[in-house]
């Protein structure tokens, strides 16, 4: 049973990792995406994420299914935060438990790369100068 969630409020990283961990796995490979304080040289004040939630969850489920069919993954945790995020806060956590680390890194890279192409979530950057733009593509 995977952990696929869109949430408002801070991602509970220890709790999510605990759900993803498995006693028969030697690796819990983890990607944490965080809010950066600049974009193309402009100072970012905060971010806002919004989603087409039902389709985003369906796409996240599809990615998890693909991951578990291609790699010997015991548990996929994929959690994205929505709403307002401050600099340094986590926007996404992907954690995969596998017997061994090597293929885990391949699976993790595939997971985040696919996520960034296929999941309908959008980021709005609010800059220090008071302007804001929707970021399109990543």
């Amino acid at each position: 049973m995977n952990t696929i969630e869109l949430i408002e409020g801070a991602i509970d990283i220890p709790a999510t990792l605990a759900k993803a961990a498995s006693p028969d796995c030697g690796a819990l490979v983890t990607f944490l995406g965080t809010v950066r304080n600049e974009h193309y040289g402009r100072a970012v004040r905060y971010l806002e994420y919004s989603a087409y939630a039902p389709m985003a969850l369906a796409k996240m489920d599809q990615i998890a299914s693909e991951l578990t069919s291609r790699w010997p993954i015991t548990h996929v945790a994929m959690v994205h935060r929505l709403g307002r995020l401050e600099i340094g806060e986590a926007s996404i956590l992907i954690a995969l438990s596998l017997p061994h680390r090597r293929e885990g890194f391949d699976a993790l890279r595939h997971a985040i790369d696919t996520f960034k192409q296929a999941v309908p979530i959008w980021k709005k950057e609010h800059f220090e100068d008071g302007t804001a733009i929707w970021v399109e593509g990543s």
Binding site: S50, A51, Y52, M55, H80, V119, W122, E136, G137, S138
Partner: protein
């Protein structure tokens, strides 16, 4: 038939609404839908390049038919993660 189209992110701000409606012929495809948007909602047409269309919460291509009653959404280039 009348199709209600969900809007998100930049398109939602541009359209000033969370959805817009268009009229298309029965049996219309995504390509027909995009043409109808350009004609019936010219304020959105400049933003359509790069936008994908989802039917029933799955990405389609210009030849994909609009199944009656299926949820239809315009998906600007995504930037999650």
């Amino acid at each position: 038939m009348r199709v209600e189209i969900l809007l998100f992110a930049s398109l939602r701000e541009l359209g000033g609404a969370s959805s817009v409606a268009v009229e298309v012929e029965a049996g219309a495809t995504i390509g027909d839908l995009l043409q109808a948007i350009r004609e019936q909602h010219p304020n959105l047409s400049g933003a359509l390049p790069g936008v994908r269309v989802a039917v029933g919460r799955e990405f389609g291509d210009p030849a994909t038919p609009l199944a009656p009653g299926a949820e239809v959404a315009l998906i600007p280039p995504v930037s999650g993660g």
